[in-house]
Symmetry: C2
Subunit: 291 residues, 2 copies
């Protein structure tokens, strides 16, 4: 069975492991802090690849940043990581074939092959964490758009320039539906800059009325975004992943989305491919595993 | 050269003509008022088809309502037309092959083959009229979603239940970006229920400051929607069609969209396939003409 060396590159951590064509993790997962400079990041990549490339058929990167349609480089700039990183020459790092995909796109593919959207041709995956990531599968193919950058969950939630998004524009879905968005909603509703995401989740779980109202506002913002996506894409399913997804009520969201859309009924479900879905999806894409 | 009998079915008018594989209209365009009952509509279809079916290879309907992925029937219900209309058995109307597509999807295909998005694999067409229609072309194929209903421009512009949309939900793009949306924006900004879309356009063209502010607010709402679509789809181009599209400044919109998106640069352009693009696109789809 063919195998990939999978490397997940985020702003704070770099993970690596070996994954087979079944999407199974078949070696230990190694974890490093993401260093601050291009040279140090490249050095880590080289060390990992040198150690494992003889054991695998392909090197599969799941990385932050938009990845081109040739799956060998990053488009434009990427926040939260060393400035020069997008210029990384990934293919020169190994004598084996190197495949690169955006981490959220890769995670969407993992859900499509072994997870919550398995067997469904049309799905959207949304990662709800500190930020929001997105991956779109249409007709059993990863949707990348003309240059590879598609699937960015930066559509407006209001038009009066209320909250600045991390992308530099105003009022994107990301800055309402993310963990950061929940904190900002709490700040606004409590008029208190010190409230944390944890405070809201903890208070909501303990039945505090104010924290529950904040939580419900955040969940409703997610709902409003899902309605738009369902009307645009008519998907089989929308998969919610990431650390914040565990708190949302997907049965409630499914019912509300279906009561508002003009397209045909869809389902909102939680991700099932696990915490390393980025590496799994990148490996499955690199190995050419399709549905 | 093969030919299609094209029939455009809207809530107020039914048009028909004959169109060849080049997308050329090769007979007179006939126009009728859309009657109020299923039986009367069916009678008109039968009359038109009986008169022309021997001259053509296929019957091509461009209709209001979402059309299934088999292109032979309408999904669910459709506003503004006789209640039973969605149950129409289109294929039984002719001894020739019958092909059905949604009117906005058909118009998007006409732009893709002979119009403003010709030669471009990834495009979105938005019709700005009394309402808003949408058609999405991805990888040179009409994007329909799991059941055929995709491309509905009903994503939120705000989340505080401000304006009820014609679809029954709140604050969709349609109820801000349409001609109806412009009137509602004028009503809100002038606190006057009697102001018309024409008043705003006329005042703006004559340099009236208040009407210009209303027009700019409406154009900005369109802009906000385009930003979201560009971030989701990374399209080559977004085509604006319909009676209201002639008034928007596409150079301004292109510049603003590209300054805000996180995906790669796109273009906003006006439609070029003309007033009968729905019939032309339906004919080209029915005749299997691809890019």
């Amino acid at each position: 069975m063919k195998k990939a060396l999978a490397i997940d590159v985020g702003g704070t951590k770099i993970y690596n492991t070996i994954i087979n064509e079944n999407g199974e993790i078949i070696s230990e997962i190694e974890k490093r802090h993401t260093p601050k400079t291009f040279e140090e990041i490249e050095k880590i990549f080289k060390d990992i690849i040198q150690k494992y490339e003889n054991e695998v058929d392909v090197i599969a990167f799941a990385t932050c940043g938009a990845v081109n349609n040739s799956n060998n480089g990053i488009l434009g700039s990427t926040g939260n990581i060393a400035e020069g990183y997008p210029k990384m020459n990934f293919t020169s790092l190994s004598k084996k074939r190197v495949f690169v995909e955006n981490d959220a796109n890769a995670a969407a593919w993992a859900e499509h092959i072994i997870g919550a959207s398995k067997g469904m041709p049309y799905s959207i995956m949304i990662t709800l964490g500190t930020g929001v990531g997105g991956g779109i599968i249409l007709d059993n193919k990863l949707y990348k758009g003309k240059n590879g950058a598609a699937g960015e969950m930066h559509f407006k939630m209001r038009t009066d320039k209320h909250r600045k998004c991390t992308c530099g524009a105003w009022d994107c879905f990301e800055i309402y539906a993310s963990g950061t968005g929940l904190k900002l909603t709490a700040e606004e509703m409590l008029n208190n800059k010190d409230v944390t995401t944890y405070d809201v989740i903890d208070g909501w779980q303990k039945g505090d009325a104010k924290m529950t109202a904040i939580f419900k506002k955040w969940e409703n913002d997610i709902l409003e975004g899902l309605i738009g996506l369902a009307n645009l894409f008519d998907p089989d399913v929308i998969v919610l992943s990431g650390s914040m997804a565990e708190f949302v009520d997907t049965e409630y969201l499914t019912e509300k989305v279906n009561s508002e859309i003009v397209t045909t009924p869809t389902r909102i479900v939680k991700a099932q491919a696990g915490n390393y879905s980025g590496m799994i999806g990148a490996a499955l894409l690199a190995l050419g595993v399709k549905n």
